[in-house]
Every structure is written in structure tokens, then in C-alpha cells.
Chain length 264, copies 2
Amino acid sequence: MDRLRVVKIGGNVIDSPESLLALLQRFASMEGPKVLVHGGGKLATELSGRLGIVPQMVDGRRITSEQDLEVVTMVYAGLINKRMTALLQSMGCNAIGMSGADGNVILAHRRPVREVDFGLVGDVRQVNGPLLQSLLKQGISPVLCAITHDGAGQLLNTNADTIAAEVAVALSGLFDVELIYCFEKKGVMRDAENGDSVIARLSPALYTELRSTGAIHSGMIPKLDNCFAALERGVGRVVITDGETIGGEHTHGTIITTEGDDSH
Amino acid sequence: MDRLRVVKIGGNVIDSPESLLALLQRFASMEGPKVLVHGGGKLATELSGRLGIVPQMVDGRRITSEQDLEVVTMVYAGLINKRMTALLQSMGCNAIGMSGADGNVILAHRRPVREVDFGLVGDVRQVNGPLLQSLLKQGISPVLCAITHDGAGQLLNTNADTIAAEVAVALSGLFDVELIYCFEKKGVMRDAENGDSVIARLSPALYTELRSTGAIHSGMIPKLDNCFAALERGVGRVVITDGETIGGEHTHGTIITTEGDDSH
């Protein structure tokens, strides 16, 4: 099977024009089929502020109102997605920017109301693998933003990490998929204060240990749960990295693995 | 050759949620390959106003500044394009929303500065016919917004009427193309005050006559010049209509034709 790389970049990369340009250049230089998934960044918050939209919080959690959805649709699917697509085109990468509604590429359902009504937030229901495969076969690289749809005409705000994982899983029957999460650190750290403490390979056993000692906590937990779930659902390899080596032969960072615990 | 319909809708349709919904339903119900091209509408002007962006005019003509381009990219490529795509999906039409940068579908160059520097405005250079054909073959309907790119990383604001004409021309070697411009009137009028004076067929001779009498004037002239040019460049049929019958067997309105002058 051909190797496919699914690269997810977050707000920290998008907010810095230099970092974004460098990362897009590395993405463009990657050979073989590839998919880029991007989150938002400060631009949406800034635009909301300029428009006087007050963030709505329920029990300390941000919810997505109609107005918020308009803003993220404009910023994620419009400004950021099209800027990135145009830049990739200029770098010789035939990118196609997409929301989940485009070609029905990511169908979601509105998150059911349990303790909190998150508003217009979607959980991924189905990824259109055949369309992605058809584009990839034509040498086109999909660039997916974090907006999906419910099939009944409603756009939904969706977590970009989850989109990346679901796309990687959906394509893992067709390709040998490597899922690469780029974030602000070099990888998963043993010690947040020590930039050199990157964990080379993170196994389930080590993950359990580092959670119990508190070395891995808060936002990293759902991120890593996502990674292990993706491996269990057929993704060949998951890497967490700062993205500085994604264009190279080997991507540095933390390899998330279900194969034994050989990182000690 | 298969018949292909390229439908262009403008701001007047987009500004009214009821008109837009009705038109999308008619578009969705059209059988066979089809492309939708849309302009902007009041939303971009409204957003600019809320953001305190002052329109820049040179010699009475609106120019596109960096800030204007950000707004139209957010509104045309983001909000309007994705809303329309999600609505079409809900109506059983497998739409894919695209800017010109996506899959390099519409390459433009920045309009050269002659008397006026229009700013970040693009004139169409090349339409990616093979990509559109590949999507259409898969039963996917491209929904194109009026944002293009220059291949060097710059997005450009582009006239939607021109995009529709250029797409129709580019695909006319592959399909028997009907180009349908939907606007606020039932067709081209002999008498602007008389809603029943729709011209059924407009030939070059009649066009010349009605220009000389002043019955056709101002904004209709570039629109009609575009239509005749499209016919000369291989488009099978051009219709100007209010869009109320586009889903039916025959589209009512004014047929623009280069075949003799049989409208008298």
C-alpha cells in the first residue's frame, strides 16, 4: 500500500506568518499523497472581538452560537483555508481547500446535549474516503478546515484533531497512513520545563505511568487518547512533533505506538 | 456530447434567504452535469461596515484593498460558499464549494494598472477544465465563488459573470454548454418599465438596435458583451433569466443568440 501522510496543524502555527510559511513549504516538499488539516488560531477570536461578539460560556466551557459559527466559517473555511491553499499552489503543491460540506467529505452530527449544550458543534460521523482517494490519485492534496456539516444543511464547528484522526482512520484501508500532529513543542515531554525531555516512543504502558505521575496532564490527555484510538483503528503510525522535520525522511518528535514499551 | 449547465447567481438572489433557497432547490433538481457560480451580495458590504473599513474609490470606481480582499474571501469563499454547499448537500446535490485556488481551478492575473489601479482584482487567465470534468464525472457539482488566485500565492477578487463565462467556454470542448445568468428581472427588457417586455431572443442585430435607441444601457452592456463573446468562443446557448424556471425542461428568459435576427 502507498504511504499517505495526514498532517494536522494548530493555531500556534497559523498565528505566526513565518511559522506557517515554513510549515507549508515543508508540507509542499513532501512526496507522495498527503492531506493537511488545520485548526483556527487567534484570527477568529480577533474577528469576534472586532464584531463585538461576546463568547458564550456554559459551566466554564465555550459554546458555539450562530454568530460564532458565522465567524469560524468565515475565518477557517474562508480566510485561512484559501490563503493556505493559494500559498501551497505557489509552492507547486496542488492543494484543494475543503470544509466537510464540500463533496460531503466530512459528515457530522450535532453533539447531543448531555450536561452541556455546546451549540453548533459537530462530532464526525463519516469521512468520504472515496472522494479523498480520487483527489489524491489525481495528485491533489486536500486541505481540510475544522468546519463540517450535518447533511441537513447545517454547518458545524468541529475539533481539528478529531478530523485529522478520523480522516487517517478512514483512509487506512486504502493507504499505509502516518498521522502527524504538529504543535508548539518538539514532542511529548517527560518534563514540561525541560525542552530536551522529548519522549521518543510513547507506549500505552508509559502513557499510563506518566499520567499517574502527572507528567502528562490536562489538554495532552484527550490528544493522546485520540492518538492511541487512531492506532487501534488501523492507522499505521502517529507522531506528535513541532513540525520542523515533516518534509524530511524521518519526522522527529514522539512516536505514539501500541507496540510494547521500549522507550526506557 | 453531454449537456452541461453553468448557472450564475448574483447578489440579489443571495441577499434574500427565500430566493436563495428556492434557487438552490431548482439547481439541485436539475439533472445532468452542472456548475454554480455565485457573486457576493450585501453581506460583504455589511461586514466591511461593521469592521469600519472605508470603501476606497478611485475616479468613482471601487478598488479592492488588502482589507477588502480579506472581507470578500471570508464572505464569498467562507460564509456564502459553505452555506450554499451545505444547503445543496441537504437537497441531494453533491456540491463542492471552490475558490479559484482550490485545485488551481481558476488561475488569474492581477489586472494591469492602466488608468486605474483596481487593487487586488484578478482577470481570468486559465480554467482547469480537466479537474472540473473529473468532478462532474463523479456526479459532483462545483460551486465557484468569485475569488481566484495568481499562482504566486495571492488571492484576487474577480467578477463572477466573467468566471461563469470563462468556465462555460473552457468546458465547451467537452460538453454542449448552456450558460444561464440569473438576475433580478425576467430577462432582457425592451422597456425597463414594462415587466412583460422580455425579449425572447436577442441577436447581434437587435442588440445593436436596442443600444442605439438606449433601451439597453449601462450595466447590461458589459453583461451582454460577455454573453455574445461566450457564444463566439464555443458556448452552445446563453440565457438571461430571473432563474424561476431553471429546473424545468425549458429555461424562460432571453436567449442570446448569434443565429440571425428572428425576434421581430
